[in-house]
């Protein structure tokens, strides 16, 4: 079955099982390996992407859900890594191992799109489903606030 979708602004036709997890299609079919596989059960957030601007965990999302939709991955957040979140991530040295950061940034980007000036509590609540094994949560929160232009 052919699934038509737009990924990071480019149209694709994928001849895949419609129940295939979207993460598989992104990484193994399209070669977009910036999105990570963590738990495979929507519990860690490493695979977070956007479908039409809404956050989804791509490891449990069947590719059919993205049919006819706009998919954004970390590679498509900005063409040159200049998204305010990416710049704040670098400025504050957020990543340790870095495995979770694509998911963290995609969740944070969706948060800022809906709440441009989130409070600490709102950041914690919205990013509660993104685990960081290195425990850089304080830096993650600081980077989100920096990207939002908050003190």
């Amino acid at each position: 079955m052919t699934i038509r979708l737009r990924v990071n602004g480019t149209d694709h036709e994928l001849d895949v099982d419609p129940e295939m997890p979207l993460l598989w299609a992104l990484r193994d079919v399209l070669g977009l390996t910036g999105t990570k596989y963590g738990c495979g059960e929507a519990l860690c957030g490493a695979c977070t992407i956007h479908i039409d601007g809404e956050v989804v965990r791509s490891c449990v999302t069947p590719v059919r859900r993205a049919a006819g939709k706009n998919v954004t991955t970390i590679e498509g957040l900005s063409p040159d890594g200049s998204h305010p979140l990416q710049k704040a991530w670098v400025d504050l040295g957020v990543p340790q191992c870095g495995f979770c950061q694509a998911g963290q940034i995609m969740s944070a980007a969706a948060l800022l799109a809906k709440k441009p000036k989130p409070t600490d509590a709102e950041i914690d609540q919205s990013l509660a489903g993104n685990l960081c094994r290195c425990g850089t949560y304080l830096r993650i929160r600081a980077a989100v606030k920096k990207a939002a232009g908050e003190p």
Binding site: E41, A42, C59, P62, S107, K114, A128, G129, L131
Partner: protein, 235 residues
């Protein structure tokens, strides 16, 4: 939890007893109807027992099993108590929480990852219910799903309710999604999230009986006047 419903009215004495084990729903086998007819002229007779047909925690009694209850309101009350075994099951109450977070499992533990109700009962930005829950169960990942997965509004909280309080709530349009009783029956019969309770996927215990049986009970309760159980003691 033990619930006793006792009514003394004229010559009729009735008692229902239900036992609820946390995580296993109401103990279906414990629903008993006792009817005692006091004798005339000051004489009294020994209580006569009219037990409902036995059932299991996985099954529901049918509306016709309640036909032997002579009083219409009492019949409606008994029908509701039977139907409440579905509504107070963890598959339902986990997403009808009294707080701002859903629960999960048969033990009602806090949802993992920690998620919040949000302003529209669908989560918060970047962590919506549908960020993870799909339109159907994802068996490989064990994630439950159904169309439009979301929490019941806080005014429709069912967790830790008794059948009596649940019944009052279900009849109150301010706390039932502004539905008439006929619309409650319709919702019971056709809403996709309600239907998930009988097909929860991945080893989860489904609610008792079948959807058709549950709908028949709720419809019979409405048809019999929709009286609510009274005088519960919760302990």
């Amino acid at each position: 939890m033990t619930i006793r419903v006792v009514r003394v009215a004229g010559t009729v004495y009735q008692e229902w007893m239900l036992t609820k084990r946390r995580g296993a729903g109401l103990g279906a086998g414990a629903l008993v109807l006792l009817i005692a007819f006091a004798g005339c002229g000051g004489r009294s007779s020994a209580p006569a027992s009219l037990p409902l047909p036995p059932t299991s925690k996985d099954a529901l009694r049918a509306p016709e099993d309640f036909a032997g209850i002579p009083d219409r309101d009492d019949r409606a009350r008994a029908l509701f108590v039977e139907a409440s075994r579905v509504m107070l099951h963890p598959r339902c109450t986990n997403c009808h929480p009294a707080g701002d977070s859903p629960t999960q499992g048969n033990d009602g533990r806090l949802h993992d990852p920690p998620v919040a109700r949000g302003p529209k009962d669908r989560g918060v930005p970047a962590l919506e219910c549908t960020s993870c829950h799909q339109d159907r169960n994802v068996e490989l990942a064990r994630v439950p799903g159904a169309p439009s997965w979301h929490l019941a509004p806080i005014e429709m909280a069912w967790a830790d309710k008794t059948p009596a309080t649940l019944c009052d709530q279900l009849k109150d349009r301010k706390r039932n999604g502004d539905r008439s009783l006929d619309q409650v029956v319709e919702h019971t019969a056709h809403d996709a999230l309600v239907g998930w309770g009988w097909a929860p996927g991945h080893g989860r215990e489904p609610v008792p009986g079948t959807r058709a049986q549950f709908t028949a009970l709720v419809a019979a309760w409405v048809k019999e006047g929709a009286a609510c159980p009274k005088d519960e003691v919760k302990r």
